[in-house]
Amino acid sequence: MRAGAIDRRNLLKASGAIVVAFAVRGFAAQGAVAAERGKRQPLAPDQLDSFVAIDRDGRCTVFFGKVDVGQGVQVAIAQIVAEELDLPLSAVDVIMGDTAFTLDQGGASGSYAISNAGRTLRFAAAEARRVLVERAAAALETFESLVETGDGKAWVRGSPERALTYGELIGEGYFETPLTWNGQMGNRLDARGKAVPKSPDQYKVVGTSPPREDIRENVFGDQAYVTDVRVPGMLHARVIRPPVVGSVPLAINPQSIARFNGARAIHERGIVAVFAEREWDAIRASRVLEVQWSEAPPPFPDPEQLYDYLDSAPTERSGDEESVGDFDAVVAAGERVVEARYEWPFQSHASMAAACAVADVKDASATVWTGTQKPHAVRTGVAKLLGLPDTNVRAIWVRGPGSYGRNDAGDAALEAAFLSRVVGRPVRLQYTRAQGTGWDPKGPASIHRCRGLLSSDGWVLGLSLLSRGFSRMDVAPTEADPRDTLVGQLLGKGSNSQAAFAIPDEPYEPAAKRFSWETVAPLVKTGSSLRTGHLRDPVGLQINFASESFWDEMAYAASADPVAFRLRHLKDPRAITVLQETARLFGWKPRVAGNPDDSGETVKGQGIAVCSRGDTLCATAVEIELNRRTGRIRPVRWAIAHDCGLVINPAGLKLVIEGNIIQATSRSLYEEVSFNRSNVTSVDWMSYPIADVTDMPDRIDIALINRPEHPPGGAGEPAGRPVPAALANALFDAAGIRLRRAPLTPARVKAALEASDEAQANAA
């Protein structure tokens, strides 16, 4: 970020706190810039100036109402804007995540950064160019149709030597141009001007692969994270959670921690916190503070019986059903029935670090520094919690440990604000590892019942899939309502639980299908360490694990090759292309049955699965190496064909796809929240293991299917979705065992192998 852009917009330096401006290009100019946007308040979604600014030096600042959680979306946004404005990419800066400067475009969520927020910024940038052309025509006394633009300048066709820079055209002013706004905020916000954006065949910047500059800052130790924010007068805080979910603090003994340089403690309803000037004192105090907890009955079911519990617990809500064709008629006519049930555990975000937030609450205003994906939701949530108007709260996103949905960052932001009000000083709250893994919102556990009706000639006549699980919205996808945060619940604000799951998003077209879902009630209404919410591709992995494992099972039941069998039931040309391209890239070896090999300790297998998610399609194939002695699965190589429509930044996209595959591999092979009757017991990386560098494949081959004619879909989540089923299908190929319960841990695989060997021995 160059200072010029800041000055031009009357961005004033505030004192004493870190605010980060994000430079897309230019290492030297970025850094900590504290800023107040001047005369353009309040931000209005129907005003071009709310999205794009150009200063007298011709630099462009984009005000992006989402954040980047490590996938480089700010680079793609800058590319889109540079493209439409005919600016060099180096002249574009992106500011994101500060509620003082950006409108609520939904934060990081739903893989919508490019498809939705990018669309509005594309229209905004095109409109900005249109206004500049209009002004250039007036200044050069010509027709708009004769004005050409390039490299931040405008000129009359044939006279580029008399060009005016954008800076000269905008001068000290603003665009002062209205947009047509659809009245929505968040992901649905859509605003457009009169200008028609370029057609993809004119693109020069979109489709290239400029790098992220924030990685450079990080490798030189110069990047500020939310953990680095310091505010004058700040106290370090730690909180203490109940040993048994539902237990509440009855009393604390502040004297028990006075020896740590005057560390203090507070107790208010369900919240117990300690404070100290120095962080180590806060940590030590939190470990020894004497707290008297109420007796509480252990609230959770026997973990060994989790899936039986899901089967037998009363249905809380039955979701909307998708029905195609006459399923009952197909049941009557089906010649062969295939049935299977799949199970998926609770999973934790387990972010690289537990959440940290800094809050400075005054009498009538508050500022919160947070690593949340959704700073606008933090603003609203803090305002509600403290009883302040939204406009008096500023939430500033500072990069945090990566997050993948509704992790603990929002909880920490609201809790820091609460604590700052209680102690009357700025507070830096750092959750512990045990709190980060043990008390973050969890991805819901679920079971999935599949039923397929096959014809004698190998067609799926009917397919049903019923998902039954805990809600994906026991806590909402945002922290905008304190009832959706742990602090709000522990303070007795109640619950805002919504019952929601999802049905498969499948590209196949059997004659009849019936997809539906049911939820069971949360195990505990409020203050639960097993409250459930959005974890990356919410419930997408679990449903696809079931549906794509089941397509394999149906294929083999029909004695068909899994690829050929799927292709038989596809009509969408994009789906057909990703599947065929994946099989080709992988070197798929057709087969009509599993290919178990017990010749040695290490055997190999291949598996494939397809994903449709919104406007994005992909298929992924994997070759695994199975150690029959230990039960360990290692993916050796992946191949994926990925179609998310128009590709903005191919190299960045490939990294996003890789990250999706690796993280989903971890969730497929290792991740499972453990708990006992009282509380969650997976609280660190030993009790909640994730994939390690030694689990990495040798390579990941990626084919990007660029479709310039198709608007960009999302890429932040789809590539992970088919990973669990691809691995389970490869395991079946390698060893002839079908694991229908995730994760496919070494212990579970080993037990299944032993059971299979025993069954074979008995049969023999």
């Binding site: 490590g70 990080n218 120095r278 990566g402 590892r433 990294l655 890789e658 690796i662 994730i690 560098v693």
Partner: protein, 156 residues
């Protein structure tokens, strides 16, 4: 009661006063000296986000008592090189666009620096085994590995 610890950090002499010599080095670096890294990740030496080098050896600063660094040399990622004079691994990490959220970088970078120093032609397997146990939650392992392999030649 204050206990003084003198050490060198990224080439500068540092002195911190603590009442608990058992305080982890991490808090001396971040809370007392105000350095932006290393970072708290787990506090129990399971992830690597807090990694620094102590006399050239990668250590987890979240479990290393500050008293253990008396008179010794601490190196953080910020002391590794500068944009003008980068360590080859810093260049390689940028070229490979190696991280996503980047919170984990201290573990991978500071460990890789030691691996490459001790074994400049480390193979793919040697690199993987040397990095074993470090956590990256975003799944950016592949690009991290590519960056390191490009320095040791294991990618050719």
């Amino acid at each position: 009661m204050a206990h003084e610890v003198n050490f060198e950090c990224d080439g500068k002499e540092q002195r911190v006063a603590v009442d608990d010599p058992g305080m982890p080095l991490l808090y001396a670096l971040t809370d007392l000296l105000g350095l932006k890294n290393p970072r708290y990740g787990c506090g129990v030496a399971q992830c690597g986000a807090c990694t620094v080098q102590l006399d050239g050896v990668p250590i987890k600063s979240c479990v290393t008592p500050v008293s253990a660094v008396e008179g010794r040399k601490v190196l953080t990622i910020a002391g590794l090189g500068t944009p003008k004079q980068p360590h080859p691994l810093q260049t390689a990490f940028v070229d490979a666009q190696a991280t996503q959220c980047g919170y984990c970088i201290n573990g991978f970078m500071m460990t890789a620096v030691a691996i490459v120093r001790d074994n400049p032609t480390a193979s793919r397997e040697e690199i993987r085994s040397g990095l074993s146990g470090l956590k990256c939650r975003c799944g950016s392992h592949m690009s991290i590995l590519r960056a390191i392999e490009s320095v040791t030649g294991a990618d050719t």
